[in-house]
Structure formats: structure tokens, C-alpha cells
Symmetry: C2
């Protein structure tokens, strides 16, 4: 399919978490058309095997290709860690941007030779994708990664602050700090986690920088479109299409928190993979 400057940017996630990245993309590039796909029929990806994650990601992005996207954002840390190379190969020459590299860049910019603590899903941690991405940029950095599945559930349930959220964050983070690894930066290595920022802030020392991939991913996309001259024409007003593979009602209810604005379930188109 031929694409033009008017073509939409595709944004893919396993569910609603990627809406935090979508929000940053809209803020950075209000003229761009955006089409978001959440693979809610098969979420979560974070506890599944690399083989299943790759297969699901490839299937799901097919439906974005059919919408004539000019660029794909993989707004899911797990899919970025596991399947980015497979997606790049499959979509070539279409540009593909993941969230792990921008997240690592944000962490290294915040503190050079820093001690970084990454909170992520089981699959992301197992592959050590953040450690590799940070060390490539800053070999002197020290990186710890923790799998925090309960934080995904907390964000989905909307229990984003209060005693339970704080106690859960503490249970994951305290053993690392007690081991003498007080972090300089804490990386939100799952797109669900920006919602838990207040609870995380309450647990780490005041000087710790909390970074996520959303704004740096938006910056990376903006640069890429500028460099290849495919940004939206001036004066265009960006349109947003929301697709999901299951459960429009639940997507609307939970997704609204992530996008930071109300979503009606009638705004969501269900696609069958």
C-alpha cells in the first residue's frame, strides 16, 4: 500500500496501556492522524512466551498495515523487547519505533553512570532488553530489572494510589534498596505504570528521577517523520481511530484513565484477527 504525508501513524499495544504513549504522540504532533490497536483479546503479553508474543504482535499489526499506516509505534514494552526485530523485518521498509530504546535514552539522559531500576513485565525482564539498551548507551551504568505483574493488575483495576498501591510497590522495590542499590532513576518499563507514578514516588527517595518512554518515544517519532519528510501537512487536524480485538466496554472504561480523557465504547471498533 502506498502511503503519504496524510497517512496515519499506527500505534500498537497488547491492551490499553499504550494509550499513555498515544497521549504523548497527540500532544507532540496534533496534526497527525493516529490509529491505535489494542490486542485485548490476548492480553496480557507480559506473562506469555516469546513465541506467542511475536505471533500475536505480527498478526495484530497486519490490521494496522491494512489501514495504510506510514509508521508503526510499538507502544508496548513487552512487544518491543520481544518482537521489535521481527516486526521491523515484517514491515520493512515501513519505519517501526519501539518504546524500550526511547525509555533507555531517557534514563541515560537523566543520569549518566547512573544506577537504574527498571520495573517491567516478566517477559521484558527475562530478556534484559532495558539492561542491553542502557549499557549500549552508557557502559558504566548499573541496571536492575524487576518483574512486577501486580502493578499491571493495579493499574487495570484503577487502584493507582493509596495504601495498597504503595504497599505493593514497596514489596517489589524495598529488597533492591535494602541490598544497597538505591536507584538514581526508576524506569517505568511497562506502559501501564505511568498511572502508578504517585505510589512509586512515595516509595523512592525524593532525588530519584522517574522516567517513562512516552514523551521520548513521541520525540523519536517526530524526528523520524521530520528526517524523511513524511510529517502531516500544515493545517491538518489529527484524527484518532481506536481499534481493539475484544471488549469495547472494558476498553472504554479502563482506557479513559490511560488516555486522560473519556472514551465511549461506541468510539471503539472491534477487529477480528
Amino acid at each position: 500500500m502506498t502511503t503519504s504525508r496524510q497517512s496515519p501513524i499506527g500505534v500498537f499495544d497488547s491492551g490499553v496501556g499504550g494509550l499513555t504513549v498515544l497521549k504523548a504522540l497527540r500532544q507532540a504532533m496534533p496534526a497527525e492522524h493516529l490509529v491505535y490497536l489494542g490486542d485485548t483479546a490476548r492480553l496480557p503479553y507480559g506473562t506469555k512466551s516469546p513465541q506467542s508474543i511475536s505471533r500475536y504482535a505480527l498478526q495484530a499489526t497486519e490490521s494496522l498495515l491494512n489501514r495504510g499506516i506510514k509508521l508503526l509505534v510499538v507502544a508496548c514494552n513487552t512487544a518491543s523487547a520481544v518482537a521489535l526485530e521481527a516486526l521491523k523485518a515484517h514491515l520493512s521498509p515501513l519505519p517501526v519505533v519501539g518504546v524500550v530504546e526511547p525509555g533507555a535514552k531517557a534514563a541515560v539522559s537523566a543520569r549518566s553512570a547512573g544506577r537504574h531500576l527498571v520495573l517491567a513485565t516478566e517477559a521484558t525482564v527475562r530478556l534484559g532488553a532495558y539492561t542491553a539498551a542502557i549499557k549500549r548507551r552508557d557502559p558504566d551504568a548499573a541496571v536492575h530489572e524487576i518483574a512486577c505483574e501486580m502493578l499491571v493488575a493495579l493499574a487495570e483495576e484503577g487502584w493507582t494510589d493509596g495504601e495498597i498501591a504503595t504497599a505493593i510497590v514497596r514489596r517489589y522495590v524495598d529488597p533492591i534498596i535494602a541490598g544497597g542499590n538505591q536507584p538514581d532513576t526508576l524506569i517505568l518499563g511497562c506502559t501501564h505504570f505511568p498511572l502508578l507514578r504517585p505510589a512509586i514516588r512515595a516509595v523512592v527517595e525524593p532525588g530519584t528521577a522517574i522516567v517513562d518512554s512516552a514523551s521520548t518515544t513521541a520525540d523519536a517519532v517526530k524526528e523520524l517523520l521530520a528526517s524523511n519528510g513524511s510529517g502531516a501537512p500544515a493545517g491538518q487536524v489529527g484524527r484518532l481511530d481506536l481499534l481493539a480485538t475484544d471488549g469495547a466496554t472494558r476498553f472504554a472504561r479502563i482506557g479513559g484513565q490511560f488516555l486522560g480523557q473519556q472514551i465511549a465504547s461506541s468510539d471503539i471498533e472491534i477487529v477480528d484477527l
Copy 2:
């Protein structure tokens, strides 16, 4: 496929939770061969739409049919609530036993004209399957159902007791109790929840009966096999086969807690649906 008394009983769940039912089946009928399938590639079912749940359950049980099962146990409350009739129609004349009816029977036996509190998944609660099953047996009963997704995450993470587990149970249950609905029975309406019994026990009044479907489901299966003369021949030593659709390592690690014995990942056969 023709079946015999030697044929295995098939046990189906969305993941590892159904192993609590499998454990009860083994205890009640040590001579029966059992083949368990966890649809770990698509779990959890509890937050998905009825259409997706039914489609997944039908696909998954096909692979049990191919193993020549003589009876199917749907050891997943969500699939029992949503897809039992579809499975019965699809598998007819093979007998199919769900866990909702046995759970309702256990609750009504524990307290007639009781006030029952059901903890379950979003999909189970949305359909009110427990309310219907209890009221059919006891029209004077009062039933409250609460969707408790965080309890699934807690059980999967293995945080089954301690302050966090208690605080989460309390957050779900306390508003019901504060509304003057102190329950007589509390029904564990998801096969993950028997692991959380200590935390739940700590929150409800000492006189509250906590019931689950595991042992009553095993009783129902035993009766059914006796009534149609298809129980395992005397002297047979039951064999157990474990199948999953994804992630043998994770299945073994988490499943061991549910089954109450260690599982090696090499014991699990991965099947592709």
C-alpha cells in the same frame, strides 16, 4: 472417537487455577486417568467478552476430544458461567460438568436461606451465573457477587497471605459488610481463590462458611461416572497428563502451588490450537 472405562477424564481451564479442581478429582478418584489442559496462551478469560471466551473454550476442548476423553470437566468458573451450554451442545453426547452448579450446591448445603457472597471474575459476575444457580436451589437465598480481578493477580504472584493479601480482600469485601450484608457463606467463585483462603478467612466473621467448587465438582463427576457405569476399572492406577497452550516454565512454577505438588516444566506438553 469411542471411549471406554479406561478413557481419561478431560479437565479444562484457562490456566493453572483449575489445578485446584484437578487435585480434588485425583483425591476422590485415584484410579481415573486425567488429562488437564490450561489455555495459558489466552488467559485470563475473566476480563474478556462472552464471544471470545466461548470461542477459546470450544477451540481448547477440541484438543481434549482428540485425546479420547470420556467426560469433560470445565474447571474454570468463567468458562462454566459463559460457555457451558455451548460446550455441552458441541460435545454431546459426551457428559460435561462445570464448576458453577457444584459451587452453588455447596453454598446452599452450607446454609439454607443464607446470605451468600460470591467472589469471582468480571465475566462471571456480569452474567450472574452463581445468583441464578443458587436461587434455583433456594429461592429464599440472598446473593451478592463481586468482581475481584486483583485476587487472580495475587494468586498468580504467589502473594497468598500477609498484609497485602488481607488489605486487598478487605477492599473488596468490606463495602458489602458495611452495607449490612454480613454473609453466611463466602463462595470462592474462581479456581484461583482457594489459595487465598487464609487471607479471606482473616477478613470475614468466624462463623462464615467458605466454600469452593473443587470437592463438590469431584463428587458430581464421581456420581455421574457411577450412574453410567463408566468409572475406571478397579486396580487401575490413574495417570496424569498436563497440557498447556503456552509457557511450560511459568505453568510449572505457578501450577505447583495450585496442584499442591511440584511440577517439572518437562512434564508439560505444549499444544498449539
